[in-house]
Symmetry: C2
Subunit: 229 residues, 2 copies
């Protein structure tokens, strides 16, 4: 680790000269000025991965939603709130050698979010929220032409049929890899210190044993370095 840090500082890691975009955290989609829809992503896995990539010498652009875990040192931080802001920040960060989408982006936003706080009328009408599909940042970037990073990696949070769902997601999104994890309540993974991931590539699915998120990050960063070498 010390050697890696020294190498990174000297710009001599296996990823030196590489520019990598990492998205992380949740997005928040406003309902009105005080309410929003969120998700349970802590940003821990994204922050750990950005740290591991930077330690291998990469220039990391870290596009993060409002996460509980702070961004690591040594990365270029771009803060966003909504999915649409995240897409814009990712596009602005291209071109890049790789893009890794660890963020748990909201699939839907509330159409026509209210400008004033929605008042409760006791016993009265309940709010009617109309949803719209958010941009699919992973699929969008995977489908880019000359601007497409050489390696596009998506994350998938699944609660059932992890391998089948992740394999289907890889095909559907047009990305190179999917890193899938099982976020069922009871695994303690979402928001917890450990992760158990399945890496789906063109060669198939590879399940890694449960390990700390920092180790998942190091292993994944090493694989990314091999692939870009």
């Amino acid at each position: 680790a010390i050697l890696a840090a020294i190498e990174a500082a000297l710009g001599e890691g296996p990823l030196s000269g590489r520019r990598i975009v990492v998205t992380s955290g949740p997005t928040h989609e406003p309902i009105d000025p005080v309410r929003y829809i969120a998700n349970r992503s802590s940003g821990a896995q994204g922050a750990a991965l950005a740290h591991a990539l930077a330690a291998l010498g990469a220039h990391v652009v870290f596009v993060t939603g409002p996460a509980a875990v702070p961004p690591p040192e040594g990365v270029e931080v771009r803060r966003v709130e909504t999915a649409r802001e995240m897409l814009a920040a990712v596009e602005a960060a291209l071109p890049a050698d790789a893009a890794v989408f660890t963020a748990a982006v909201a699939d839907w936003r509330v159409e026509g979010a209210a400008q004033e706080k929605i008042k409760k009328v006791p016993g009265g009408d309940l709010p009617q929220l109309t949803f719209r599909e958010n941009p699919d940042i992973l699929a969008h970037v995977a489908a880019l032409g000359p601007q497409r990073p050489r390696l596009v990696v998506g994350f998938a949070a699944e609660t059932q049929d992890v391998v089948a769902n992740a394999t289907a997601k890889r095909d559907r999104k047009g990305c190179d890899w999917i890193v899938a994890n099982d976020v069922s309540p009871g695994t303690g993974i979402m928001g917890g210190p450990e992760n158990a991931v399945t890496l789906v590539t063109e060669d198939g699915a590879e399940s890694w044993p449960r390990m700390p998120k920092a180790e998942v990050a190091e292993r994944l960063a090493a694989r990314i370095a091999e692939t870009l070498a």
Copy 2:
């Protein structure tokens, strides 16, 4: 402040022997295992108030949702997530001399939250969320018989007509005081270090100048101490 701390430690503050319930933070209402509806409460004002009450010698039961700001030292912490859990924790904490409801409780929850993550079908149906009204913790406690705390204080986050809305809220809820603040975007109050509050009591509305949340807390704690004396 040092004198107050010493007095509190010796159990000699003006609130020594008083039990006060303070709710704080947002609540999170699940949509499915990974998504939820939240609100922008940081828990800063509630934590500051709990601290100020404890410094005056009160035994504070601090019922907190998932807040960004950690609970203060020297209070009894009860962590909850949803509005229904918060109500149960408050009821369990009674009887008390006073109850101060700073939490930004979700007015609605999602009926029949999904047990599995709702999958996005690209271009497919958008989710239909059905809402149900959450229990009104403030009104419920204000309407209790012998279990009603002598002083019941609600908070109101308004974006317009602050005094009129807060006065109407006080009548409707049956509480003794409403502490109202203007959380319009642009004031920087929600999530920020300062607050500008209007205190509505049976004697009318009293607007305090904008000041740090810690000062609002001290001033309010002193008023509570006077009232319970």
